[in-house]
Symmetry: C2
Subunit: 350 residues, 2 copies
Amino acid sequence: MGGDRGPAAVVAGLAESATAIPGAYFIVHGDEAHLGPMIAKRKDLTGRCEIRHAPRVVTMNDKPSQVMRHGEGTSMWSCIESVRAGEATVAVSCGNTGALMAVSMIRLRKLPGVNRPAIACMWPSRNPGGFNVMLDVGADIKADAEDLAQYALMGASYARNGLSLERPRVGLLNVGTEEHKGRAELKVAQDLISANAAAGAYEFVGFIEGGDIPGRRCDVIVTDGFTGNVALKTGEGTAKLISDFLREAFGANILSKMAAVLALGSLKRLQKRIDPRRVNGGVFLGLNGTVVKSHGSADGTGVAAAIALAARLAQSGFHERLAARLASAGRAGQDAPQDEMAAPGRSEKR
Amino acid sequence: MGGDRGPAAVVAGLAESATAIPGAYFIVHGDEAHLGPMIAKRKDLTGRCEIRHAPRVVTMNDKPSQVMRHGEGTSMWSCIESVRAGEATVAVSCGNTGALMAVSMIRLRKLPGVNRPAIACMWPSRNPGGFNVMLDVGADIKADAEDLAQYALMGASYARNGLSLERPRVGLLNVGTEEHKGRAELKVAQDLISANAAAGAYEFVGFIEGGDIPGRRCDVIVTDGFTGNVALKTGEGTAKLISDFLREAFGANILSKMAAVLALGSLKRLQKRIDPRRVNGGVFLGLNGTVVKSHGSADGTGVAAAIALAARLAQSGFHERLAARLASAGRAGQDAPQDEMAAPGRSEKR
């Protein structure tokens, strides 16, 4: 019911997904009187979904703390509840990000050993798979060294399942690649992430810079939620600016308009390659259950992309694998003698 | 002598600038035996420049703290020294950024009232002037609320002189535009920047997001050097990725190749519009003297762009205006009753 375009975009996305993912079944949460007729009109959805009535809606302006305390009866709460109860394998929402994270935290609870959950996104890149994973892009505005080390474990696990990479390469975002550069917590995090590499089944490439986010130096970019959110929005804004400039360039004169017609196929492929709707879906990591956050402004195509991602994660048993990986990295740390860092897996390397 | 391409790129840039800026005179710092023959070959430079011999070179890997202590005799030190002595109006360097800032700080000293100097850059945008100003993009990895307030004053002053805007609009970079969002220091900075608006002759638009950096919501983006540096490099990396994809798209088949020929003029204009070399030059703000940092990898065209920016700032009397503006904002605060924030200009609004 939330999101900038309301339930129409969600139902359009559901209809697209029903055809694309034959095995999927949908529980749709929200106002039955509103949703019922919309869904009934879509023949693709016959027998493929049920409506779970929820009378209230979380708006885009509601404060997360308010929703966390008084959110019962909203479609968002009902959606997360269906994951908690085991009725749904994965939740998808276009609603208020902060509220969705708050409700997910309180209802699903954090995985053992996780201090701060994170939101991971896919980023178009030069790597063979076409995408990199970046986290945190906005679950929390801060992260200490141990949080960053957990992001590395969770991000690697996500890349393994979402990008089919056996041994993802992890980079830690900084203002330079030299070891002495950056904030104090990044230097500590560097040691922790390096020490966890075996238990997390990833390769640590060290510090990376903003230019490496769409690059091929690593598959997983680890950063705090403030920096990650700014980077994500800066990248999206820059891509949007250039595609607007491109459109203007092709409309400039008769020659360029003819060129645009000739190049239509190639340009469409390019547009598809950088279309933010295709990579729609931030995944909440570190909870007892998988939640996919779609862009608030997503249209039917965007919602379908988020659902496709959710289905892929559900089918690969991603959640169970992530939990097992975190537990194994945690054990590696607990088995080892504690030092002043008390960091999971830190002593492995010695 | 520094920079990734060494003195050849610098001399090529000088020759381009000598033609473009008839009134400019250049003092070139570095190894005379090396520079002499290169400059002698360029007829454009006859009578337009002199070589100041400096036997040593700061490399891209030297630590700033080392260069600060033992940098005498390097071309970088000699260059900054010529600004300190009043022989040069402005310094331009392609060298090691951290070392250049360290040498500038110790030789030029900070302007009265400035705690942390900042590096400001121009960013392609949707605004009529075609660019926005962002600072800090890497002078320091942290900034407290009062530093951010000074960045607003300095950035507005730079936009006034560099973009000819009478009353620049200032935005504070955050993860959301709601007043309650973001880190604690950003909420304090918001009040300080708002209170300084009259003394700084700018308009404060409040919090902005990463997507607004290339947008038209404001002209000046204020942020700490860590976030600003990541955003700058992410934006550059994204632009580079898309232009590579574009090149591939036009090479895809015979139709798209024909299209590229037809659209050549438009595409060249587009490329020029997003060419990072055209906006080459970070300006160090908050020192007794103006220093322009060119990209380390700049070629002749990039160096010429940095020199053009430096000349524009020198001719507009930018440095004197900035110092006067900072002094007036400082006085506004000193005249007013002190509160617990003790921030310059904070009580103005009451």
